[in-house]
Symmetry: D2
Subunit: 298 residues, 4 copies
């Protein structure tokens, strides 16, 4: 694995490195960790990389790695830069024959996303967008419960992602995360919705295996002076007729990071919360007839 981004002050780079290391099958072999060469070099040293494979630019990295013998070069590249730096390295890497793991959201804007999609199709390489939460075993179990019909026909989906860390105006502090995530030139046109609403959206579709076909949103900038939405709610319409609701906010003072999903069908419901990530709450109706049939011999 090679990495683009994830230098000093970054957040998600370390998460990708940890995740990659979990099963012992992936090794970080090269990287361009920062747009500042000195920072990149220092990071590479700290990670124990060979200095020769810590590159000054991602263009350089893709070119040099592609030139290495197949069994020496990186297998794929993990891109963990701010959103405005997703498209260019992804395009370059894909076209040079590398599979790409990309942190969400996909690109800086919709046009880039569409173009990237066609590049992926053309090159035939793997393109993996890391929506973390679908990796939790109990999320997979939830998906399975829906799939096997335990809830009946899905009628309602609630998904909520509350955070509180942007409750006040941190843009002028040295909080590097706050700086780029609230900056339209680096984050794109979506703030909280792009940053965490995308996770909520993904999990809603992932667990139910449904697709959202229409939305109606209320998007707010709560903290004065902020340039991007930091709070919002969305009505969802699914392709099976179900409806839903998505909340994403980074200004709910006192909240940490608790993605929660509830799904209801005509036979039952389920609930999962990141605060108790190894558990899954199953809800069955209290209908006497069903109970009697189910448990009459117990």
């Amino acid at each position: 694995m090679g990495m683009i981004g994830g230098g000093p002050g970054a957040f998600i780079g370390a998460v990708h490195r940890t995740a990659a290391a979990m099963d012992g099958l992936i090794e970080l072999v090269c990287g361009t960790f920062s747009s500042q060469a000195a920072n990149s070099k220092k990071m590479g040293e700290g990670l124990g990389l060979s200095p020769a494979r810590v590159y000054e630019t991602f263009e350089h990295m893709v070119e040099k790695e592609a030139a290495l013998p197949e069994n020496e070069r990186m297998d794929f590249v993990s891109i963990v830069t701010p959103n405005h730096l997703h498209f260019a390295p992804a395009k370059l890497a894909l076209e040079a024959g590398f599979d790409v793991v990309m942190d969400k959201p996909m690109t800086f804007n919709l046009d880039q996303a569409k173009e990237l999609k066609s590049i992926v199709e053309k090159t035939g390489k793997y393109f993996c967008l890391t929506h973390t939460y679908s990796g939790y075993p109990m999320i997979k179990e939830a998906k399975e419960q829906v799939q096997k019909g335990a809830l009946g026909k899905i009628r309602k989906v609630f998904v909520s992602y509350p955070q509180g860390w942007l409750s006040s105006f941190l843009e002028n502090t040295d909080q590097k995360q706050a700086a780029w995530r609230t900056d339209p030139s680096r984050s794109g046109i979506a703030g909280a919705m792009g940053d965490i609403g995308t996770h909520a959206f993904n999990i809603a579709e992932y667990v139910t295996a449904l697709e959202v076909t229409a939305i109606c949103a209320q998007i707010n900038i709560v903290v004065e002076g902020r340039k991007l939405d930091d709070d919002g709610a969305v009505f969802l319409q699914f392709n099976n007729g179900a409806t839903g609701l998505l909340l994403a906010s980074q200004v709910l003072t006192g909240e940490e990071n608790t993605l929660t999903i509830k799904v209801y069908g005509d036979k039952g419901g389920l609930e999962w919360t990141h605060a108790d990530a190894n558990s899954l709450l199953l809800k069955w109706p209290g209908d006497p007839a069903q109970i009697f049939e189910r448990y009459s011999k117990t």
Copy 2:
């Protein structure tokens, strides 16, 4: 206290009677419990009322009670009929000089509500609409926390009222509650929104002491064949600039009756749920500066 409605198969009448009995200061002395005289008579007997004061019609009751000496007649009347029978007895009782306690929602439609308001103002009598949940001590404590500024400026209100008892089509069964609550001719134009959404709405305004100034709603009929909404969500806009979200549904299979409210300000948040009604969850931010200031000497 006199009572109109609350006969056999009724739900809320018994709740009003229990509530009235709690502090020992109110006694039920008369009633018209059903539109069917025999049912009313039987109910009165069961409640230990003097047969002379169990009336066949509410018109009769108001007239007869008004004719009694002041220290003998009912002090006020509790109206616990289906929605389409709220306005007429209320108007009659008010104009006959009785204070009125009325179960929510106020009337069958908006015109009646406006007219009733003007009657209340003209007569100068008390008119009390029983939004049960504002009576919980921890809801009052929540209101007090907001009022004294513990949460700072309110920015977000979530209020949710999930039920599951109308998850299937009960309209044709002998479930008397399902029958009238889903019938436009008795319930009015609102189903779940009128039945339980009104509670959620009331509690949102009550706790925050704010007023909702604009809404945008997604209203659904989920169960096939039903005539009124059984599920919905509403974006709320408050008069201080805060926004909010209201959910009310009676088709969330597995849910019982769990009104929940969360309020967030720029200093902190709070949460109350009917499932743990004697408790109040207070949320404070993890901002190091505030913590240091607050607890530096602990």
Copy 3:
């Protein structure tokens, strides 16, 4: 169904009547609702019974009912008296050929329980002890999950029954429930442990299908002047080697009535709480190997 106990001021009698009425297969036909004939008579009227079948004493009732033609007499009797009045009517009814439904705890003391057991065996009649909570569908589902091995070998059981209603000394008030439940001459030698600890104990054995073989308890009288334990905790040892913990308290100020059980095995755990009675929380381990095997193709 006939009923012994359950008169004015009683609590559990109404619960038995409601439960019996739920599926429409049981009808209350006779009763001795109070040791005071006038109260019994009034109760019978309120319940719409024929005056001829509201009896002054339970001895009278058992004798008269037994003398009725088989298709007219009560099928069984529900005994809902305070604990000291469990044994005598049960013995009488069983020996007269009636099945018995008895509210917990079984009897006033251990000797009576043993004798009653032998009477039940001798008469061959049904004897049903109503531990309410085992009737919840999700408790039955929990039992099924354990039985089918979803949790692996059970290693730990936590069961907790917190109440707060006896937080202060109510014995001298007109709270009829507090009066007899804290009175050794009517309740027996166990207070909170007998009243609600028995429910917790029952549910622990019911869900796991294990038997408690040894205990070590800490029993307290918290409220000054009280004569029976109002709070306690018990270490449990089960017959498969598992251990557990049982809590029962009626002095936890602010608590209502929230029985909760958690069970853990070597493969997973589960949790059920009365506050969300239609739901069951399932816990699976985060072990990467298991996850991989389980979800590798998802």
Copy 4:
């Protein structure tokens, strides 16, 4: 700050370093991070320390640092070694004039703890034992609520620390944490009770400002082949007459790391859980008299 321990594969060293860095007032200047000099050197490099101040042994470090001019040498030392290596470096550092921050538990055994206490008293230096959870603002708020009498006289304390990571036998894997924490020669005579029960115990005394005066414990080795307790429960007796219960287990499959405390007094209760660490749940009784008095004008 200097650090002893916290090298590759260590867990708590990084936590101490992060905590020390939070307010920008503490700088890590030297360390002996591992008993293997090469590991220590590598760790120091990664942390950006001057090679001259990464020492091969803690004896060397204490001697050399003490010899530096006062404004250059470390202010205090953080000791984050396994339990059997707590006493020696602490004694050395204290006697050389350094304040000591020590990770819990205090020492390998009781004798060492007593001796260390007398050394602290003799030297007059600060000795700080890091029971992390008392640093949470809402734990401090809980303590304040108790102190100001919001709960009345404390009567019951429940504290529970469930983990699941030792649910199976990891001792023979390369899980360094499992290896030393289950090894009596490095951990001492207590397993789960020493490792996490100490946190639960500390928080119980910290929040209530009470002292435990007597205990009765059920200590188990659940996983076959393990040498130290991995599960247990303790009855607590407090110096004001209150009782309590402490749970600590590392074999509750599916649990992560959720310390929870509940405290009840005669006026109310409170609850805090690590799963929602910024919140505090306050419970007040439903006693009508209190409610009336409190909210009669609302």
